[in-house]
């Protein structure tokens, strides 16, 4: 039932630093993913302007006809968002867990430059494990 279609990580300025596709029907080329990521960054900022009350932190969940988009923004401004099937549960926890993996395997990597695209093997491995585990656990229900 529940499946993740893709994962994006964008840096403070809106540039895409990580993109992983887990099974969407249409393939998007790199340029398109970059555009989509920047567009999302701007939409996130504009939504804060339109809030009727103080203290808006931006869009956390976008529900569309064919997919849901969950977004998590860290305190530093790095955004993690995942495109999944409508009604998928526990995406917020998955995003927080991915943030932990990011801090462990990307930020603590001495060769990683801040705000640059992520090329860390351990991060990829652990991320795949986390997503697969999530999928297996959900299928097992």
């Amino acid at each position: 039932m529940a499946a993740i279609y893709s994962l994006y990580i964008i840096n403070k300025s809106g540039g895409l630093i990580f993109y992983k596709d887990y099974g969407s029907a249409g393939r998007m080329d790199t340029n398109d993913t970059l555009r989509v990521a920047s567009l999302w960054h701007s939409m996130h900022a504009i939504s804060q302007q339109l809030s009727p009350v103080l203290g808006c932190a931006g869009i956390e969940l976008l529900e569309a006809d064919n997919f849901d988009l969950h977004c998590f923004q860290s305190l530093t401004g790095t955004k993690f968002f995942v495109v999944c099937e409508p009604g998928t549960l526990h995406m917020e926890n998955l995003l927080k867990y991915i943030y932990e993996l990011y801090t462990d395997y990307v930020l603590k990597n001495p060769f990683y430059e801040m705000e640059m695209p992520i090329r860390c093997e351990l991060f990829d491995i652990n991320l795949s494990q986390a997503v697969q585990k999530d999928r297996v656990a959900l299928l097992g229900r």
Partner: protein, 153 residues
């Protein structure tokens, strides 16, 4: 696809029972971006003046629709970002939620967009939006003194 059933107004959706569940604002736009109706009931914070606020809202929704049509993981064929989409073409979003508000959106085939900004814990408001659209059709469109494209009085 049968968009709305019947010509009579559908029964009113159940009124929200929890306190604090009333709407903050409502916007109605036509396909050109003219704000036909704007009402606010509870808006402590005004970031911009009314004109800019309407334009920003319309722009945000236009771009989000374009984004969801492009990002749709279930369709193989997608146009490029920024290509204006006809109402109903491509995957469109129906709501988004932030920590302080929830925005529910509905677009009709004629391009009329109805937006309701409410408390974040609000449930699915699509039926309420359909009901509002039916009211709009009954009392605004069928009013012989109303000119299409003008703000609603």
């Amino acid at each position: 696809m049968q968009f709305f059933g019947g010509s009579d107004i559908s029964p009113s959706p159940p009124a929200p029972t929890a306190p604090g569940n009333n709407a903050h604002m409502i916007y109605v736009f036509n396909r050109n971006g003219v704000c036909l109706l704007y009402k606010e009931w509870n808006r402590p914070l005004h970031t911009l003046n009314a004109q800019q606020d309407h334009k920003l809202m319309f722009g945000l929704l236009f771009s989000l629709k374009s984004l969801t049509a492009k990002m749709d993981p279930t369709s193989a064929e997608k146009g490029n970002l920024g290509v204006p989409q006809l109402p109903g073409q491509g995957c469109s979003f129906h709501s988004f939620r932030t920590n302080t508000y929830k925005l529910s959106f509905m677009e009709t085939p004629s391009g009329i967009k109805i937006i309701l900004v409410t408390h974040p814990k609000t449930g699915d408001l699509r039926d309420s939006l359909k009901y509002i659209y039916n009211l709009y059709v009954e009392y605004v469109v069928k009013n012989p003194l109303y000119t299409p494209g003008a703000p609603v009085r």
